[in-house]
Assembly symmetry: C2
């Protein structure tokens, strides 16, 4: 019922995660009133992301160059590898400012429900890198798929790179978390992984 | 911290209504994994909406032509004008399939809080059209700005086009609405506008 170009834009917005008909309409109608220059920048940004962005050939992180800034930074410990699901996780960790090693981005998690197999992920390259590293930190999420992937990687690394130290990030009560609101799994982890003060 | 092209896309998504940092990141990261053809269509749709879409020279609705489909449709009653705030409202009303007149899109509402004055809206053209019409239906929302605009228009029409019938859409209990959940204004309207059965 909308003019064709508007319908097309609504359809495009609907491909975004969690965006339904109403939200897509709202976004598209805002574009009809937006500053033309901003809209052009928006369109250009979409194209740029597709053409300029690639995966770092070392760690799989998103970059506009062959290797990402972190892998190119010789002041960082290239022998400590923090393994995450996606580029988003790299940013989250970098924000802490507390980590000075490098990353490895799997670009997904092993998942039986979504049919993602180990060979679909950036794992071969991790094994290669782990041979020259002193520590691999498994930092996939504390979800079913995250734990499955961490378990798979820990076994694979133990057999293929027996000399490297493999660790898993701590699970427990989140900062600001209240004991009586925590679920059983969290409490169990908080108890098991307790440390001497 | 993200590569520049990705940062730019996140910024663009953030200009959309209700989209914060996290959501914009999620949208942008999805684009990095999307089908290149779809992304190109998305970018093209953005540009098309800016270049092809304009306001119908008669009613102010969005269209790719000089006059919109509804104003060009001679089977519709061109003397009955349904006055709404935006193009979205035209679509909502058209979905009912019950209205066979034409529309007038104000492209906003008079608002003291947002500093929108009558001269910022598509009102002059409405007065012109009302002179040849038999009914003007004021269908702005039942909000403060909507009521203000309806009141302003009803007075202006009464003085400038005294022969035209000016009506206001009914206010009352929404379909499926429960009496004990309705607010006072709604109940007051439901009582005042009661009709003989």
């Amino acid at each position: 019922m909308y003019p064709k170009s508007l319908e097309q834009l609504i359809d495009s917005f609907r491909t975004l995660p969690g965006v339904g008909e109403k939200t897509a309409e709202r976004y598209a109608l805002l574009i009809t009133e937006a500053d033309p220059l901003e809209v052009e920048q928006f369109a250009q940004a979409l194209l740029d992301v597709r053409t300029k962005l690639k995966h770092c050939r070392i760690c799989g992180n998103l970059t506009e160059n062959d290797t990402c800034e972190i892998c190119s930074d010789q002041s960082r410990d290239q022998g400590q590898i923090f393994v995450v699901q996606s580029a988003k996780d790299v940013i989250a960790m970098e924000r802490t400012g507390e980590y000075h090693g490098v990353y490895h981005v799997l670009n997904g998690l092993i998942s039986s429900s979504k049919g993602v197999l180990p060979e679909d992920l950036n794992i071969d390259r991790l094994i290669e890198r782990a041979k020259d590293a002193h520590e691999v930190i498994l930092a996939t999420s504390a979800t079913l798929d995250g734990e499955t992937t961490a378990l798979y990687l820990s076994r694979l690394l133990a057999s293929r790179c027996p000399d490297v130290l493999v660790t898993r990030i701590a699970h427990g009560l989140p900062s600001g978390g209240m004991l009586d609101y925590a679920d059983e799994m969290t409490l169990m982890h908080a108890l098991t992984d307790r440390r001497k003060v």
